[in-house]
Amino acid sequence: MSIRNMKQAQYMLFGVIAILFPIVTSAKGSTITLLASIGILSIATLGFNVLLGYSGQISLGHGAFMGIGAYVSAYFVSQLELPFFLALALAAIIPFFVGFILGLIALRLEGHYLAIATLGLAVVIEEIFAEFSGFTGGWSGTKTTYPTIFGYTFDKLAVYILIITILVILMIVTYNFMKSSTGRALVAMKKSEHAAQAMGVSLFKYKLLAFSISTMYAGIAGSLYIHFFRFAEPKLWGIGLSLDLLAAAVIGGLGTIGGAVVGVGFLKILPTFLQTVPILGDIDGLSFVLTGISIVIFVMFYPKGLINLPVDIYKKFFSKKPTEAEEVDL
């Protein structure tokens, strides 16, 4: 499959550039932190996109699943002194199952029920995290260390490279199953439930699968978060984070893989950019407002998302061929 190989190369090239960039530019710690945040959130958004962009389901609770992944990972590394990769695996598996159970309850009905059920999770999770203080460190938060793999303790840059590596792997893996019968079933389910059912797609099974996969990705992102920032508290995992994922997915481009990174990039860089602008930088909440407006505008006028913008601009202004309907860039 030459297209697949091209895509794999594309993602790997992106990964290489992302890894080399801070090294080559001798970037400051704060830049690496920003880039790492983008990487972490991209992983979570990638999963979120499988849920929303491909299967057409909304969750407002993915922040909570990131939190679960983070606390699981920190607990197993710092309290139980398990190897990091095992903790990471658990940070993937446990949110998968929690999502599976929540999905069993909420996914038999129309989409807005899942949104409501996950909204509830987002609201109550803070209190729940605070309560299980033996596990999460309660309100004062929990600390952990940079990962140690094969005796070698990572530093900040190394964790960043780990994040990007995992991101690229997940991008490739996601591309693989989205281009297979599973992915087609999810797309069919989003576009036409009747056709999907007639083709043998059990809506419930596939909604459950998409949801669980997305919570698994969120768990992985959570683990990487806590091992990069080495600290987390219950306040982080509420509805604000979930809305960020939604914004990133929508603005970047629903139903695309690269869109996750582009969307998160937009989300994270916007506030940083605004701060540099003289008057605007002082206005509180401006980035929220602009992000919210962007969501509305993209949904209404440009659902393909930022990632398709360069292609469309090229076609409109530079290409002589009549614009044919083209497959959305994955």
């Binding site: 909304i58 609201v123 109550v124 909440g285 209404m300």
Partner: protein, 290 residues
């Protein structure tokens, strides 16, 4: 036993707030198919307006009325300026748009009103009075009375007036309504206006209890959704009854078990409802046409 009734009364107050918000939710949902996830945050924004007006020296009753008018205007503008142009967008997209509104409201509040919580007074000050062994604040009575009146009024309009008929027909089947000459566009505008006002009113009622802050409505917002799920989205009265059940449960659980866990317990409860009676107490199952 007195304490129990005390909690029932407190529960009625909670129920009032959830009920107003839930009614606003289901009004918009049944007629336009959109679940307005921004209901709570818009209410929060309007509470800020009320608090700010009050802090600027305006008498709080006038501040409330002005705010409600502004809320109506905001709801109207959202429908007329945005939702109207999104008719071609599917329900999923419209839900996402309302989440965009959430972020906008969350950003506008600190932008206009700063980061600190504001104060808003109760509508009636005064010491608790005792009726039949139960001690109630006059403010609480007022809240319950206002809510019941408004709901009563709304239901009367829905059942008895031409406008109410237009809303009910549109809620039943928008295509048929259009074919029969019902002004569905105006119905949309009306329900968004009314819905936003209801949300603002709920927030104003909460304001004295929690102070006006960006997160003030999160809990109520969720509980209004829980009420709607419990009562079912199929009817207008369902969510209201659901709100009364949830409101009373909320206070009873809060008192007898734990107030900080009340929300979590109600959440688990609603998950249970989703398992056994997913369309709610008054829900109806639809067979979709293939």
């Amino acid at each position: 036993m007195d304490l129990f009734f005390q909690n029932i009364v407190g529960g009625l107050q909670s129920a009032s707030m959830y009920g107003l918000a839930a009614l606003g939710l289901v009004l918009i949902y049944k007629t336009t198919g959109v679940i307005n996830f921004a209901q709570g945050e818009l209410g929060m924004f309007h509470a800020f307006i009320a608090a700010w007006l009050y802090a600027s020296g305006i008498h709080f009753v006038i501040a409330i009325f002005l705010t409600l008018i502004i809320a109506g205007l905001v709801g109207f503008l959202i429908e007329w300026g945005v939702m109207q142009h999104a008719v071609k967008i599917d329900h999923l997209g419209k839900m996402i748009m309302t989440m965009g509104f959430v972020m906008i409201a969350q950003g506008l509040a600190p932008m206009f009103f700063g980061n600190n919580p504001l104060y808003f007074p109760k509508m009636i000050q005064g010491d608790p009075i005792t009726i039949g062994g139960v001690s109630i604040l006059p403010n609480t009575i007022l809240i319950i009375v206002i809510t019941l009146s408004i709901m009563g009024g709304l239901f009367y309009v829905l059942q008895r007036s031409k406008w109410g008929l237009a809303i009910r027909v549109t809620a039943e089947n928008i295509q048929t309504a259009k074919l029969m000459g019902v002004p569905t566009r105006m119905v949309s505008m009306a329900v968004w206006t009314v819905g936003t006002i209801l949300g603002a009113l709920a927030a104003i009622m909460v304001a004295p209890l929690t102070t006006v802050s960006v997160t003030m409505m999160a809990d109520i917002h969720l509980k209004s959704f829980i009420s709607a799920v419990l009562g079912g989205f199929a009817t207008f009265y369902g969510p209201v009854i659901g709100a009364f059940i949830i409101g009373i449960l909320n206070n009873i659980i809060g008192f007898y078990i734990s107030s900080k866990w009340a929300t979590a317990i109600l959440y688990i409860f609603i998950l249970g409802v989703l398992i056994f009676k997913p369309t709610g107490i008054f829900g109806k199952k639809f067979i979709k046409k293939v």
